[in-house]
Amino acid sequence: MNMNLLCGILNKDDHLKIVDALLLALIGIVIVFIVLIALMLIVSLVGKIFDGSEKLKEKHPEWGEKIAATKAKLMFWKKPAPIETPVAPELATGTCGELKLVNTDERDAAMIMAIVADNMGVPLNELRFKSIKKAEEEEK
C-alpha cells in the first residue's frame, strides 16, 4: 500500500463535499488502524522473540556459556577479561566464623544471641553460635 496513490485526488483549495469527507474519514480511520495494528503485531513479535530467548537461556543455562565462548572466539581481537576469583567478604573484628540462619531474620538472631549471653553471664564475644533455626510447630 503506497499512500502516493492518493496524491492529487482532492485539491486543498476546493470546498470539501460532505460525500468526499465521509469517504475520506472512512479510508483515513481504516489506514490509522492498519498502520497501528501492523505496529502492534511487530511489537508483539519482537517481544515474543525476546521473551523466548530469555526462556531458552533459563531452560538451558549451558547454552549461555557456549554462546559466550563462541562470541569470545569470534571477537579474537579483544583480550579476554581477567577471570576474577571470588573473594570471601572480610569478617568483622572478633568474629569467629559464620552463623547459619534458618528461617530467622538477623534482628531476631541478634536478640536471641544477646538473651543467651545474658542468661549465661558470658560476654557475647566469648560465645560462638553456629546455627539458629526457627522451630516449627511439629518440632515443639
Binding site: H15, L16, I18, A25, V32, F33, L39, G47
Partner: protein
C-alpha cells in the same frame, strides 16, 4: 525646522494614530485578545510554555507600525502573490521583520519536527511495548479527527485543506497540528494552534464527565495487572522499526515521526546521553520560544476575527470530546474482549496530549478505587496516540498536499 511638522510626523507614524485608521479596530480587538491569552497562560496556567509565547507574538504583530517597522508581514506568507508565485524567501530574509525570520522555521516545518525530537527524547515507550494492545486505543482516539473532518465539511465554510487542518485539532497534538496546517491552511495557523493548545490545557476538565458517563462503576474500578518487563534491546529496536515501517507507508509523515523516533533512540540507545539531554531541554526550550512567538504572529485581525475562527473553536472542542468518546468506546470493547482485565478509562488517554490525558485516567481511576494506579497503563495508549495522530496527519497530507 518646523517643530509642529516634526510632532505631526511623529504622530502620523505612531501606532496610536494607526489604530484610528481603517482596520485599526481589528488591531485593538486583537490586542485585547492577546492580553486575555496572556492572562490564561500566566494566571490560569493554560499550557503556559506555548500560550504565553503565542499571546505575545499576537500582541507584537497587532501593534500597528509602518511598512518598514513591521515585525511580521502576513501577506508575504499567505497573500495572493505567495499563493500563486510561491514564497519569496530571499525578499523575506532581506526585508523581513524579526517574526518573519522566525516564522521560516514554522513554514518549512522545522520547528514542529524539532519539538517532536524533544518529545521523543522525553518519552518512554516501555508501557506501550509491554502491552501492544495499547496501540489499538491510540488508533481509536483518532476517530475524533475524522468525525471533525465530516463536521467541518458539513458547515460548507471550509476548503479541503482547511477542513483537514481543523480536524487535526482533535489529535490533541500541537506540533502535528502546526505541521499539517502550515502546509494545507497557513492562514488558519493561529486559531488552530490556539485552539489545540488551549483545549489540551483543558483536558482535566473536558474528559472526566465523559469518562464517567460512558463507563460503569465496575469498569472504572478494574485493577490492571502489571505487564511484562521490556528489555533495553526492544526499546532500541522500536524507534528504528517504527521509522522504517511508517515512513514506507506514509512518506509524508517521515519528517515528523522520524524526528520523534530519532529523539527516542537518543534516549534509549544509552550512548548519546548528551544529545538526548540537549534534545529534551536546551533545544526543546529554544524551539518552543521561536514556535510560540512566530505562530502567534500569524494572528492578524483581518484573518483571525472571522466567523471561521469562531467555528474552529467550536469544532476543536467537539474534536476533543469525540476523540475521548472514541477512545473510551474501544476501551470498553477491550474490557469485554479481555474479560475485564483492561480498564476502559485508559481509552481516553489515546488522545495524545502526553502525559496530561494519562494523568486524567489515573485520577478518575483513583476516585473509584483507592490504590488503583492506572498511570503506567494509560501511558501506553497515550504515546500510541502520538503515533496515531502523526499517521492521521500523514494521510491527510498525502491526500491534499
Amino acid at each position: 525646522m518646523n517643530i509642529g511638522q516634526i510632532i505631526k510626523n511623529i504622530w502620523d507614524n505612531s501606532g496610536f494614530n494607526r489604530l484610528g485608521l481603517t482596520g485599526g479596530w481589528q488591531s485593538a480587538v486583537m490586542i485585547i485578545i492577546a492580553l486575555f491569552f496572556l492572562y490564561l497562560g500566566i494566571k490560569k496556567k493554560f499550557e503556559p510554555l506555548l500560550l504565553v509565547g503565542i499571546a505575545f507574538g499576537m500582541l507584537l504583530t497587532n501593534l500597528p507600525a509602518g511598512e518598514g517597522d513591521m515585525l511580521f508581514h502576513s501577506e508575504w506568507w499567505t497573500g495572493a502573490e505567495a499563493v500563486e508565485g510561491g514564497i519569496d524567501y530571499v525578499h523575506i530574509l532581506q526585508y523581513g521583520g524579526l517574526l518573519d525570520i522566525l516564522y521560516i522555521g514554522v513554514k518549512t516545518g522545522v520547528y514542529p519536527c524539532l519539538i517532536f525530537m524533544g518529545v521523543g527524547a522525553m518519552t518512554d515507550f516501555g508501557p506501550m511495548l509491554s502491552r501492544p494492545s495499547s496501540l489499538i486505543l491510540g488508533a481509536a482516539a483518532q476517530g475524533g479527527i475524522y468525525l471533525v473532518l465530516i463536521l467541518a465539511a458539513a458547515t460548507g465554510m471550509y476548503t479541503g485543506g482547511e477542513a483537514a487542518s481543523i480536524s487535526i485539532i482533535a489529535g490533541a497534538d500541537g506540533p502535528t497540528a502546526i505541521f499539517l496546517t502550515k502546509t494545507l491552511a497557513p492562514q488558519l495557523l493561529a486559531p488552530i494552534a490556539v485552539a489545540a493548545y488551549s483545549y489540551m490545557a483543558l483536558i482535566p476538565l473536558l474528559q472526566p464527565p465523559f469518562m464517567k458517563l460512558l463507563t460503569t462503576k465496575k469498569e472504572r474500578m478494574t485493577v490492571m495487572t502489571s505487564t511484562r518487563k521490556v528489555s533495553k534491546k526492544e526499546k532500541i529496536i522500536f524507534p528504528i522499526l517504527v521509522t522504517i515501517v511508517v515512513s514506507l507507508l506514509l512518506p509524508s509523515v517521515a519528517p515528523l515521526l522520524g524526528s520523534l523516533m530519532f529523539g527516542n533512540l537518543l534516549k534509549e540507545c544509552g550512548v548519546t546521553e548528551r544529545l538526548s539531554d540537549t534534545a529534551q531541554n536546551a533545544l526543546m526550550n529554544i524551539v518552543t520560544l521561536f514556535l510560540g512567538i512566530s505562530v502567534g504572529a500569524t494572528a492578524v485581525g483581518a484573518t483571525f476575527l472571522t466567523t471561521k475562527t469562531l467555528v474552529i473553536i467550536v469544532l476543536g472542542l467537539a474534536g476533543f470530546v469525540l476523540a475521548t468518546i472514541c477512545g473510551l468506546l474501544i476501551g470498553k470493547l477491550l474490557y469485554v474482549i479481555s474479560k475485564g482485565k483492561i480498564n476502559p478509562l485508559i481509552g481516553s488517554a489515546g488522545v495524545s496530549a502526553v502525559p496530561m490525558a494519562a494523568r486524567v485516567s489515573n485520577t478518575v481511576g483513583l476516585q473509584y478505587n483507592k490504590g488503583n494506579y492506572l498511570l503506567m497503563h494509560a501511558m501506553g495508549p497515550n504515546v500510541a496516540g502520538v503515533i496515531g495522530s502523526a499517521v492521521a496527519a500523514g494521510f491527510l497530507l498525502a491526500v491534499f498536499a
